[in-house]
């Protein structure tokens, strides 16, 4: 039997609002980090395996801006990227995928209506649908982690995969921003409950945390650990590889 295991993935996450990448501990204190296309290109050059863009405001106006951002990223960047935030219908997903997104990430809308997962998977394939789950105390939260839904995370992950999700993006609300490591127990529980890939998210403070996550699952989302600075990514890759995780070899840059 062959071991069908792609390389573990490091996935930088970029929070976007009004066409700009931003960073903030709360919505009141957003700091402009830069242009999404420039940052995406720099992360790609730094060895990112994929990218995730999250529209953190997700108003109607922002949704239009996001489609434009996606198109500009797709023209320039040649690694896969996922777009999430405010996707409520298959039409919303289609607009982003037709603009050049490889995958869409859905969260609250999938909780409210799990058949949305199936609709998007039917149109574009399971590999195009990521279900993002915000977990707090082992329970599912919606609306940016603010509303407790009262569902068990593992059970929801299983249902989402059965509906056609091609990947689970699992964020620990408690760990997010704490820089004390991913929630490995929950990540392992979800990994064991589904056959689709699982991305660990929330809590990375150092390279060892990323190593720990990649020992239990397929991919790790990284945000604050690279300080929103793409030039930090090669050092993180090196540190992860020094700890024994084999990442994809990067082609030599021809100049």
């Amino acid at each position: 039997m062959v071991g069908i295991v792609p390389f573990p993935r490091l996935i930088p996450c970029l929070d976007v609002t009004a066409g700009r990448v931003v960073k903030g501990v709360s919505f009141q204190q957003l700091r402009d980090v830069g242009d999404p296309v420039e940052l995406a290109a720099a992360y790609s050059e730094g060895g990112a395996d994929e990218l995730v863009f999250l529209d953190i405001t997700a108003t109607l106006e922002n949704a239009r801006t996001m489609v434009d951002v996606v198109a500009r990223v797709a023209d320039v960047v040649s690694i896969p990227f996922t777009v999430g935030g405010g996707i409520r219908s298959a039409d919303d997903a289609a607009r982003l995928i037709e603009a050049g997104a490889d995958r869409v990430s859905i969260n609250s809308a999938a909780i409210a209506r799990p058949s949305l997962i199936t609709e998007i998977a039917h149109l574009f394939g399971s590999q195009a649908v990521v279900v993002a789950i915000d977990a707090g105390g082992g329970r599912v939260h919606s609306h940016g982690g603010t509303t407790a839904v009262g569902r068990d995370v593992v059970e929801w992950a299983r249902e989402a995969a059965e509906c056609g999700a091609g990947e689970i993006l699992l964020t620990s609300i408690e760990q997010d921003g704490q820089r004390s490591g991913y929630d490995l127990a929950l990540t392992t529980a979800v990994r064991d409950a589904v056959r689709v890939p699982v991305i660990a998210s929330g809590g990375a403070g150092n390279a060892q945390h990323v190593v720990d996550a990649l020992r239990v699952t397929d991919a790790a989302l990284v945000a604050s650990i690279v300080h929103d600075d793409p030039t930090q990514l090669p050092a993180l890759r090196d540190a992860v590889q020094a700890a024994g995780i084999v990442l994809r070899p990067l082609p030599e840059v021809l100049t």
């Binding site: 069908i4 797709a74 040649s78 995928i97 689709v196 397929d218 070899p249 082609p251």
Partner: protein, 184 residues
């Protein structure tokens, strides 16, 4: 030189493929018109959507017959992901679909590891890593490259198909596409 033709089968992300060719300095058109498919210097069958929907669209538009004719005439076709799978005879996807049958072989659901298979894998014997995103894979005697034991490329006559996405495989993918075009 005239435009590279990207076969339009009515769904999904063709922008990334077109952008990849644009980065190589090539213009592309998106079309399902049979005469354009037969005439174009280079035809790309991209990897979007599901096998059944794609075959229905290709059959309705006459693109399916045009692709078969082009293959018989020995004119180059590049299949990417689902585009590779459509060139074989049959796919298990969507309850079973008869596909174009340009090449011998069949398409089966992946049974090992995480499915969909998402991520970068090293392709043997090409010695580079490329990006894969698929739940089905080819079994064919036309296989010329593999990744972790899964068919990564098939070739026969004027058809070359890859399971990975060269347009999403960074610098390695870009170089692969460029060398692919320079051989035509």
């Amino acid at each position: 030189m005239s435009d590279t033709l990207i076969v339009d089968y009515g769904a999904g992300n063709t922008r990334s493929v077109r952008a990849a060719f644009a980065r190589l300095g090539e213009t592309t058109i998106l079309s399902a018109a049979p005469d354009a498919i037969e005439r174009a210097p280079y035809v790309v069958l991209p990897g979007v959507g599901s096998a059944r929907a794609a075959m229905e669209h290709l059959t309705e538009t006459g693109a399916a017959d045009a692709l078969k004719e082009r293959f018989r005439a020995g004119r180059p076709i590049l299949g990417i992901c689902l585009g590779l799978q459509l060139a074989l005879e049959h796919s298990e996807e969507d309850g079973g679909v008869e596909t174009l049958g340009l090449l011998e072989g069949t398409v089966h659901r992946l049974t090992d590891g995480r499915v969909p298979r998402l991520g970068w894998a090293s392709v043997t014997p090409w010695d580079h890593s490329f990006y894969f995103a698929h739940s089905y894979a080819a079994r064919s005697n036309a296989t010329i490259a593999t990744a972790d034991g899964v068919t990564a490329a098939v070739a026969a006559g004027s058809f070359l198909g890859v399971q990975f996405h060269p347009e999403k495989s960074g610098a390695a993918g870009e170089r692969w596409l460029a060398s692919c075009r320079s051989r035509v």
